[in-house]
């Protein structure tokens, strides 16, 4: 993971996936 993040596209790929997942989480959790 550390090597993957040192590789610049790796950092972007991880952050785009993470943002999409958290955005979806915000949408799916409704109280």
């Amino acid at each position: 993971m550390y090597r993957f993040l040192l590789f610049k596209p790796g950092w972007w790929i991880l952050h785009i996936i993470a943002i999409a997942l958290i955005f979806w989480l915000g949408h799916s959790v409704q109280f």
């Binding site: 993971m1 943002i19 958290i22 955005f23 979806w24 989480l25 915000g26 949408h27 959790v29 109280f31």
Partner: protein, 165 residues
């Protein structure tokens, strides 16, 4: 058993019991039978109780465990705060905020974070004058990095909740 290994064993046990306690409290409230969405706390609990202690045990996986543990704590903090904001109906007094919100549950989570950080520091921190003292507060693995991610995740989560109905 040397001193480091004894401390590590105690901390891993602490992490396991904190995670188990939190998970069992979750299972009591979030029954899968009632709502399939409860699969998120269920999976987080399984990861925390069964996988994180193992990952923290081996030096090669301590960094991954530290990162996963931190993000589970952040996600738990955000979702449980959201729950309190969304369902709080009592008068807004200090006593009600302390006793009738999910503050207690969030505190347990940050205790788990602290145990994870102690395990990480035990493995990698060389001295008090290490990275944190060199003005790299906002870089991994220092606390500023976690505060920045807590803020960022909370913002993205809120946007998803508000704008995607």
């Amino acid at each position: 058993m040397n001193r480091k290994k004894m401390i590590k064993t105690t901390l891993v046990a602490g992490l396991f019991f904190l995670a188990l306690g939190g998970w069992l409290l979750h299972l009591r409230i979030h029954s899968l039978v009632k709502n399939v969405d409860n699969v998120i706390p269920l999976i987080s609990g399984i990861v925390s109780v069964f996988f994180l202690p193992l990952l923290f045990w081996f030096r090669s996986t301590v960094s991954s465990a530290y990162t996963i543990n931190g993000f589970l704590v952040i996600i738990g903090t955000i979702t449980m705060s959201h729950f309190s904001f969304a369902t709080f109906q009592d008068p807004l007094t200090p006593a009600n905020i302390i006793l009738k919100t999910t503050l207690a549950d969030i505190s347990i989570l940050w205790g788990k974070f602290a145990v994870g950080k102690a395990l990480f520091d035990l493995e990698f921190l060389k001295s008090e004058t290490d990275v944190a003292a060199k003005g790299r507060f906002f870089r991994y693995p220092n606390m500023g990095w976690w505060w920045a991610h807590l803020f960022a995740l909370a913002t993205v989560y809120s946007l998803g909740n508000i704008f995607w109905k």
